[in-house]
């Protein structure tokens, strides 16, 4: 599911895209491009981007018609996909994404909100004092929303959900029976930008946060929305207090995450995983199903299914305990 909230200002001609990138070329001419998507989800009306050999297998199968990439990587692309050679793939991707989604860079507070008791929800939602609600918000039946919480624009909340107090939600889909406790910030832009001396360039965040059925998010959580894909929490997954989930992270079902854990951008966590308190997981990793990660561990590489790890860098738990007797 892509972001159902953002308005795509496309389509654009390929030539218009080349122009904002300052590229002189006549590939594509007047082909219409409807959207920018990642290698996996792109279709033939899309432009995509390919910036690291790590993704060569998926690049090789992309359905996109155009791809922002480099001289070195272009030969991994299939015949259906024409390379557009750029110096810095991610900066160019950022520029093109902004073209399609001009409002995806900045995260200004939502000034469209009104007090919930003056909104369409006044009669049917059990809300505390000083609750604010923005435009394009849907809330199911039998929900509670605590004091001072702000449901900004572009949020869908299912049935039987409980939102605590002082919590802020934006750009998110919350499914049925989800609890989000106090002081959380769900759906803000991720920590993505291109470091440039004097003034960093912020990266667009066109993804959303999806929290699936029966899950619980503890106090003080920050769950950032995705940049090019979504951030997603599975069903019946419980997060303790003070957890940070970065952009594009996907967490499976029935997973349990203890307090103060941090998961860096774009990592994937399987089903039935247990993560102990204060563990950290680096970005762009794949953690399998039924994995157990001991509290305080630092995970810096992929973990296959059914493995228990501990330590920093995290390794097999028996090995760790033997080495640290």
């Amino acid at each position: 599911m892509s972001n159902p909230f953002l308005i795509n200002s496309g389509p654009y001609n390929v030539n218009e895209i080349l122009q904002i990138l300052n590229i002189n070329s006549n590939i594509g001419e007047n082909d219409k491009i409807e959207n920018i998507k990642d290698l996996f989800s792109a279709d033939k009306k899309s432009i995509t981007f390919f910036h690291s050999k790590k993704y060569q297998e998926i690049a090789n199968k992309t359905k996109a018609s155009y791809c922002l990439t480099t001289e070195n990587l272009k030969d991994y692309l299939p015949k259906n996909c024409k390379p557009i050679i750029v110096k810095n793939v991610l900066v160019s991707t950022s520029i093109v994404t902004q073209k399609f989604y001009p409002n995806s860079i900045e995260d200004e507070y939502d000034n469209t909100v009104i007090e919930i008791n003056k909104s369409e929800f006044a009669k049917r939602i059990n809300a505390g004092k000083n609750v604010l609600v923005g435009q394009n918000v849907k809330i199911g039946s039998n929900c509670l929303i605590g004091h001072n919480s702000i449901i900004e624009k572009n949020v869908q909340i299912g049935n039987n959900c409980k939102i605590g107090s002082n919590t802020i939600i934006r750009n998110s889909i919350i499914k049925d029976n989800v609890s989000i406790l106090d002081n959380c910030v769900i759906g803000k832009k991720g920590f993505g930008f291109f470091p440039i001396s004097e003034k960093n360039i912020r990266y667009p965040h066109i993804g959303i946060v999806i929290i699936n059925e029966n899950s619980e998010i503890g106090c003080g959580a920050t769950i950032d929305r995705g940049s090019m894909s979504n951030t997603e929490i599975g069903k019946n997954t419980f997060l303790d207090n003070q957890i940070h989930i970065a952009h594009n992270v996907k967490i499976g079902d029935n997973t349990i995450i203890a307090g103060q854990v941090g998961i860096a951008g774009s990592s994937t966590i399987g089903n039935n995983v247990k993560i102990g308190g204060q563990a950290g997981i680096s970005g762009h990793l794949k953690i399998g199903n039924n994995v157990e990660i001991a509290g305080g561990s630092g995970v810096i590489k992929n973990i296959p299914d059914n493995v228990k790890v501990m330590g920093y860098p995290a390794k097999n738990i028996r090995e760790f305990l033997r080495d640290n007797k």
Copy 2:
């Protein structure tokens, strides 16, 4: 001190308890049970629970008349205590606890609160804007409460206390001269549940949080209330910012805890302890008096009095520094 706030819907006949557990037995018949308590605090009107050999010594001295336990453990119980054999002690304990305390599972926002300036405290408490106060709240003299803070139901605050802004307190007893800074959440239910595919079962939390005289709690703290016992912070103990204290933790007097420390459930920390920033302490541990734990350490076993530790797993600090030259 047990939770003075929760209403006990007992007593129940032993038979009524057996019935909700689906147990066919005629032990006890019509004995009245007044409460469910842990092995240590149970008296002869109580039912208790015993689920791990770790607690065999204390089980052997319990004063409870009945005990939820397993076939393997029942022989550790004294003669005065009749075992009730169940498959999963903690799930059964949860079910019985809910019977006595039907409101101890969910942590819905308190919708009984009113603005403090329309309450009995309007004249005598120095409170900021938009402060809310629930039912069954007591506040001593000479207290300050910052803007947007919420003192939910079932809270006692002593004299000369300072509560910051954006802070939420429930189910707690705050003694004299305590400072709680901004953005804290004190007294919410702990991260306790039985993991069950499709839909986890939440654990009841019938304990409270007690913060003793002259202590200070930094910004962004989360201190969860106890499940079967209380969470307690000693006198003159200072916590820095962004600290997480899980359910049932007991911290002694004159203890100093630096920023971003996490203490997992049911651990006990002594008096005059110093814990450096970002250290983590696993659950169910006993940390002695006058212990020093270096910043960043991960403590996974008990520490006796007067010891300095460092590392993950934390060990004697001299040994650690020698091994890591």
Copy 3:
């Protein structure tokens, strides 16, 4: 820059200062002392303090006329600076600082605030609902302030700044083009006190927080103001979510700090530094320019320029990875 907000209740005669320290001496007699400053920034109208050999070089060059110090350290001072011998330098410094700045100990919520839409800023600042603003606040043009945020007294905000929702700022100078996201607490007193059984003595915090141009502070940050100097964040420096910056820390320009990092008191971080998620940096350290600190590392000693470190204790990254294969 020292704190432009605090009112200095001096000058005092040297004799008045000796008297509050219970010192019988006739040095200085009626010399006027205008201020208390650290060894480096003190001028001849100041009293300073010197408590550790670590600072001997800077002590040797101080311009202060008087210095709180010990018998052992006094000979490092230059001739222009008369030693005042005390038992505990920091406790005495605290007492003298309180004499000059009686309001620097406690951090009570600011009860001078009013709703921003009833303030001088009503027409020109784009602010959300329930925003409060204190006395002695300046806000530049083209700024946004999100819902429920509190700009307490003694704050200067530049042009084009974006403050999120539920954020609290006090005793701070925010330069142009700075973004501070939701749920932050900026400028509170640091975690400084003298541990004394029964009742710790809080340390005065007469510094401020300075956040320089083009920087971004993520959600849930706590940035404490300085005790004797300021806490400062450089230009174009980006902090991710849930970061804790203790008192007196200085961070350079173009630095990137990932989620859940903690930096303990008085450490200095250079320019162009990258710090991975959950890393911790001990107090009183100097981290050079262009340093990279891997996520989860624990830094316990100084790091020179251009070095990459990893591990706990953090060491050269190649060495760490070789040792942990």
